[in-house]
């Protein structure tokens, strides 16, 4: 018990990671903000459950995932199909927004069009660099299922990217 009490973690340093994951799940900026706040609150409240500081990041992701599932159950909401890219980089200066919005929004938008399971698996693997085993533990699924979802997600995203590049090169067609 005393060992657990000694764990003092700065959860705020994972705010951006948690927010991104919440956004990848919900596809909605406002819900992602709510989920992030709720996650931080719950993390502070249940800090004593955490065994070590190293486990804080996956633990917070697990909290976000549970919060999102609760919302799906209780409020019967669905992840929106398209992400509102006007909200993208709203804290940026106008110059920053102009420079970065184009490059970022294309890939994020494509990724958000993937099915829920594939999207979260791809996010956790590519962005958060979790291993297959860690992802399987986090989303409570089998490693084979994670591998299959990840493979399909990558292939689909590649196809979509190629199609988009072709459309940009020949806009008349």
């Amino acid at each position: 018990m005393t060992a657990r009490r000694d764990v003092q973690i700065d959860f705020e340093k994972y705010v951006n990671n948690v927010f991104r994951f919440a956004l990848s799940l919900s596809n909605d900026w406002h819900i992602a903000e709510d989920l992030t706040q709720e996650c931080l609150l719950r993390a502070h409240q249940r800090q004593h459950q955490l065994q070590s500081a190293e486990g804080a990041r996956p633990w917070m992701f697990r909290i976000v995932l549970n919060l999102w599932k609760d919302r799906l159950k209780k409020k019967r909401i669905k992840a929106t199909d398209a992400l509102d890219m006007n909200m993208f980089g709203r804290d940026w200066s106008p110059e920053e927004a102009l420079m970065q919005r184009e490059s970022c929004q294309q890939i994020v938008q494509l990724m958000q069009s993937l099915p829920d399971q594939q999207r979260s698996v791809l996010y956790l693997s590519s962005v958060e660099q979790f291993s297959i085993r860690e992802i399987a533990g986090l989303i409570k699924s089998s490693e084979n299922s994670v591998k299959a979802n990840l493979s399909i997600a990558r292939k689909t995203l590649r196809k979509k990217l190629v199609r988009q590049v072709k459309q940009q090169e020949s806009p008349i067609e």
Binding site: V15, V18, Q37, H48, R90, Q105, V108, S126
Partner: protein, 193 residues
């Protein structure tokens, strides 16, 4: 296993260090695997850099910080019960039980007779003609009339053959009822008529 079949495990980071080195050697000779690896790694980089641009609004972390009261000293989380809170609960429980005990003692019917009736006159009947308890060989009935509230007492010898008695029960020879205001008022009315 064919080297080309390890491509997926390589990309997923599932290979052991030895297998990884062997596959990287294979990559130098296999154009198809190398291209595939580069495309996948490029895709991962693009995804990473795109998401890295996304940042949480600055006020997101403010609310939980306000809601959660962080411990000022030490590293004990706010929601874990501290020894001080345990002592406080103990003190409250002791105070409540003391209150209950004193209330029970205050409102409980008196079991023991009043010691003021120790000086008694025996063998006499109460002047108001109240019912008399039966005396027997083992107990002795006395009447007390030298007090404001006369009572009959049952006394039992303390030890065999001794002179002393212990008072085991005392009850009033005059019923303790409220003044009969209705009857007294009626009597006064009748007298007036």
């Amino acid at each position: 296993m064919n080297d080309c079949q390890s491509l997926e495990n390589y990309l997923d980071g599932e290979l052991t260090p030895e297998e990884r080195i062997a596959f990287e050697l294979h990559l130098e000779s296999c154009w198809a695997c190398r291209t595939e690896t580069e495309v996948e790694q490029n895709l991962d980089q693009r995804i990473q850099s795109a998401w890295a641009e996304l940042k949480a609004p600055t006020d997101v972390s403010d609310v939980p910080a306000r809601c959660v009261k962080k411990p000022s000293t030490g590293t004990v989380p706010a929601n874990v019960a501290t020894p001080q809170s345990g002592v406080r609960w103990l003190a409250m429980a002791a105070a409540v039980s003391a209150l209950i005990l004193s209330a029970t003692w205050y409102f409980a019917p008196e079991k023991r007779p009043d010691e003021r009736f120790a000086t008694v006159k025996t063998g006499e009947k109460p002047s108001n003609g109240a019912p008399v308890p039966q005396a027997s060989a083992r107990r002795k009935v006395v009447f007390v009339e030298n007090e404001a509230r006369p009572r009959s007492l049952i006394l039992v010898p303390q030890t065999q053959g001794s002179e002393g008695f212990t008072i085991v029960k005392a009850y009033p020879t005059i019923p303790l009822t409220k003044p009969d205001l209705f009857n007294s008022r009626r009597t006064l009315d009748e007298q007036a008529n």
